[in-house]
């Protein structure tokens, strides 16, 4: 078949656009590496630490700690919320609830930061004082409780609120795909609604839930502004969640220091950005992989 010139040109343009995406991602990796390399040879005085590993490690620790706490809070809530939309709420109510959750996703992160620092954080102070007094024997609540509420736990809770709509949206879609017949069969055998959900919906969507949680984790790891604003960070490694001495996160550290940084400082921050990129890449990759594996099994 002879190819028409228009076809060849159009195909070429479309192909170029697709290739540009590949180049962009390669560019992200290459340029971050190029600009991050000088950090490896930065002097101790410029780093404030002996070497780059000691500089990045506390930040990485804070990043992962904040994201994991956020997920511990957000994942069960999102599953409950997704079930309300897909199975519990009456049809007519489910739609507006879904919209409300989507609105939660559309709120810019800087507004969450504003809300967290002025409204949410101070409201949590009494709770932190209570935790210090009654659960102070646990390393997490050792205290002394922060008087501003700008702790890593507050930051994690704000992250949880931000990850909630993402996890809910994916879970809700998967729950809605559970085969109708299986659900009706369970109900016909006399199962209560909860038993039906446990026997049909959860087994069907297990890999989807894990994948959704991983994607939420990826989001929480990279979230910048809410943490940068809410957290009063000192860059320590500590599991103490409610004190005013908190680990920082990679993203928040970059946002706070970059505007005033110069020289090799910039390279150090870019290097930490590269580490963050690799970590989120890994988390997203595992999430997608689990999700894809589940789909193959579900398709059968």
């Amino acid at each position: 078949m002879a190819r028409r010139r228009g076809d060849v040109v159009f195909r070429g343009i479309a192909r170029a656009a697709a290739t540009l995406i590949v180049l962009t991602l390669a560019g992200v990796a290459i340029f971050l590496t190029l600009e991050g390399m000088p950090a490896l040879t930065a002097s101790a005085a410029q780093l404030g630490q002996d070497n780059i590993v000691l500089y990045v490690w506390p930040l990485l620790f804070g990043t992962i700690l904040a994201a994991v706490i956020a997920l511990i809070v957000a994942a069960p809530l999102s599953i409950g919320l997704a079930l309300v939309i897909s199975h519990y709420a009456p049809r007519r109510a489910a739609r507006p609830i879904g919209y409300a959750i989507d609105l939660l996703a559309a709120v810019p992160s800087v507004v969450y930061g504003l809300w967290g620092i002025q409204f949410f954080g101070p409201r949590l102070v009494p709770a932190y004082e209570w935790l210090e007094e009654h659960l102070g024997f646990l390393p997490f609540f050792e205290g002394p409780a922060s008087s501003t509420g700008r702790t890593i736990l507050t930051a994690s809770l704000v992250l949880a609120i931000m990850a909630l709509p993402i996890i809910t949206a994916i879970c809700r879609e998967i729950f809605a795909q559970t085969p109708r017949l299986e659900q009706e069969a369970a109900l016909a055998l006399g199962a209560t609604r909860w038993e039906m959900i446990r026997m049909t919906v959860f087994p069907y969507s297990r890999s989807g839930i894990v994948s959704a949680t991983m994607l939420g984790l990826g989001r929480a790891l990279g979230e910048t502004m809410a943490v940068a604003m809410v957290l009063s960070a000192t860059g320590v490694v500590s599991f103490n969640l409610i004190s005013s001495v908190n680990p920082s996160t990679i993203a928040a550290n970059v946002a706070l220091k970059f505007p005033e940084a110069s020289g090799v400082q910039v390279n150090i921050l870019i290097f930490s950005g590269l580490v963050l990129f690799l970590v989120t890449f890994l988390v997203n990759f595992v999430g997608r992989w689990i999700g894809a594996r589940g789909h193959v099994k579900g398709a059968r």
Binding site: P108, L114, W115, V266
Partner: protein, 359 residues
């Protein structure tokens, strides 16, 4: 029919096995909810506890009483079901609380600040009261506009390649995977990428609005590709085949038949993507910077945007701090309104123009 119904309903056997289990009346959850509310109110009135704590105790009271009562009357399985139901709805309530509180906070703090001056003045030489966010609003529109100009052609064409030409070849598989990866890129990494790219051409310390657009398009392209891909897959193959049968070349089929059919959906996706990136702060903080003056030129000098303005006016409000913080809330209200407007228009478009599916 009626006789059949009567005969089956009559107890036939000895009567030792009842056909229906006892059930709690329909108003039982309401009653327990009212009791929990009363418990919470009593705690507030008599013990002086805060509303948050008493609310939590009230909720726990409900979660405890409902299953206990149910298991006494209806048995364990039904009690578990009721517990699960109450847990689901509490999760829903817990998730709605921050949304309501946030919307209320932004409205109550932001509305008093909004005025004609606030929307039409910039911050040049403003100390203390006064000033406005005009420079930030135009900055947001210019940077987001350039980001749209970059991402829409690239995103739509890449989507077309994946659906119409890809056919599972290696490039298509790699691009599909990379688009997945791109949706997960942290926004601050996109900003660092734009900086690392521009630094090569313009030297260290580069700040310009267009850099922000490049960073935002890294975040925007995958959303546009996904939306295009999904919409193109919905176009029935019969339409394409009919067009080929008339001897129309493939590229004309795509531009004249496939794209117009799916245009509404693609526009919806683009608008959602715009709404998503318009609120991004971190990349703009890094590459676009902040300024007090108007800057209409995306290719030179720092450019202020609404999210960055919010960040700086709250964290560095100046003395006295009230005015700067008030401006931050005002700008937050304007930003949320812009983002919501885009969202609503996008949803309205998709509702009116989307192809009618089964459900």
């Amino acid at each position: 029919m009626s006789t059949l119904g009567e005969t089956t309903r009559k107890p036939q056997g000895s009567g030792s096995l009842p056909l229906v289990r006892p059930q709690l009346p329909g108003w039982a959850p309401l009653l327990v909810a009212a009791e929990s509310l009363a418990v919470a109110l009593l705690l507030i009135v008599f013990l002086g506890w805060g509303p948050g704590l008493s609310g939590a105790v009230g909720l726990l009271f409900y979660l405890a009483v409902m299953p206990v009562w149910s298991s006494a009357v209806e048995g364990g399985r039904k009690a578990k079901d009721r517990l699960a139901t109450s847990l689901m709805w509490s999760a829903f309530g817990l998730a709605m609380l921050p949304l309501l509180s946030l919307v209320w906070q932004v409205l109550s703090e932001g509305l008093p600040v909004i005025s004609a001056e606030f929307l039409t003045y910039n911050m040049r030489n403003v100390v203390g009261e006064g000033g406005g966010i005009y420079h930030a609003i135009i900055g947001t529109f210019i940077i987001t506009g350039w980001a749209t100009v970059i991402s829409v052609p690239v995103g739509i064409l890449a989507g077309i390649y994946l659906v119409e030409y890809g056919d599972g070849n290696r490039l298509a598989r790699v691009v599909t995977f990379l688009v997945d990866v791109m949706t997960g890129i942290p926004s601050i990494v996109a900003g660092l990428f734009a900086y690392a790219l521009f630094v090569i051409f313009f030297g260290p310390g580069v700040r310009m609005g267009f850099g922000g657009s490049v960073a935002l398009s890294v975040l925007m392209i995958p959303i546009v590709v996904r939306a295009t891909e999904e919409m193109l897959k919905l176009v029935p193959n019969e339409l394409r085949e009919a067009s080929y049968a008339l001897g129309v070349p493939k590229w004309r089929t795509i531009t004249k038949v496939v794209l117009p059919t799916s245009m509404a959906g693609i526009i919806t996706g683009v608008m959602l993507a715009v709404a998503r990136v318009a609120g991004e702060t971190a990349p703009l903080l890094i590459i676009a910077g902040d300024t007090d003056s108007d800057n209409f030129n995306a290719f030179a000098e720092r450019m202020s945007t609404l999210p960055v303005f919010i960040y700086y006016s709250y964290t560095q409000p100046g003395v006295p701090p009230e005015f700067g913080q008030a401006r931050a809330w005002g700008a937050a209200l304007v930003l949320i309104s812009i983002v919501m407007l885009f969202n609503l228009v996008a949803r309205a478009l998709s509702k009116y123009f989307s192809p009618k599916l089964g459900r």
